[in-house]
Amino acid sequence: AQSVTQPDIHITVSEGASLELRCNYSYGATPYLFWYVQSPGQGLQLLLKYFSGDTLVQGIKGFEAEFKRSQSSFNLRKPSVHWSDAAEYFCAASNTDKLIFGTGTRLQVFP
């Protein structure tokens, strides 16, 4: 069955530290891959997406993600986290129409 896994439920980092959020997918073929962010009480905002081509994709707010086919991974990174990055981050995949989401990673940022 198609699935998206985010192994880290909760991550805490200090402001200014680097960040990597993990995402693995299980699909028959490489799906389209997305990262969304959800601030408390808010909707889902698209950070970045991967369809094909360059495996390192840049997104908004200084985020980037790297697609690694050999590891079925699409990890999200940011070199220096800001307090405003505290939110829930969802990895999602699609190869038909519907998006399948991971369970999310809650990011907490300490000053």
Binding site: L44, L46, D97, K98, L99, I100, T103
Partner: protein, 114 residues
């Protein structure tokens, strides 16, 4: 920048009542979706809609649920007889045709069934 809007932002209803959640997708988009997120859980696909008919639906989307695009701008989700377990945040999403795989989400409607 165009965005998906949803109304109401919050709704409280009694079990067994009907609710209609409304969405206005981005104006030139052609594909429409409903997802839900039960508190503390992941976002789950409910239904997709294209060309005035359902393209795909999940097992969650049973006979109590229906969707409609009553005019050129609105996209609604109706729950005929709400259950306690329908309490969730409901997200509408839409996507266009070109470069088309990105779905844009609305802010959600938080439904509480008492």
């Amino acid at each position: 920048e165009p965005e998906v809007t949803q109304t109401p932002s919050h709704q409280v209803t009694q079990m067994g009542q009907e609710v209609i959640l409304r969405c206005v997708p981005i104006s030139n988009h052609l594909y429409f979706y409903w997802y839900r997120q039960i508190l503390g859980q992941k976002v789950e696909f409910l239904v997709s809609f294209y060309n005035n008919e359902i393209s795909e639906k999940s097992e969650i989307f049973d006979d109590q649920f229906s969707v409609e695009r009553p005019d050129g701008s609105n996209f609604t989700l109706k729950i005929r007889s709400t259950k306690l377990e329908d309490s969730a945040m409901y997200f509408c999403a839409s996507r266009g045709r070109t470069g088309a795989e990105t779905q844009y989400f609305g802010p959600g409607t938080r439904l509480l069934v008492l």
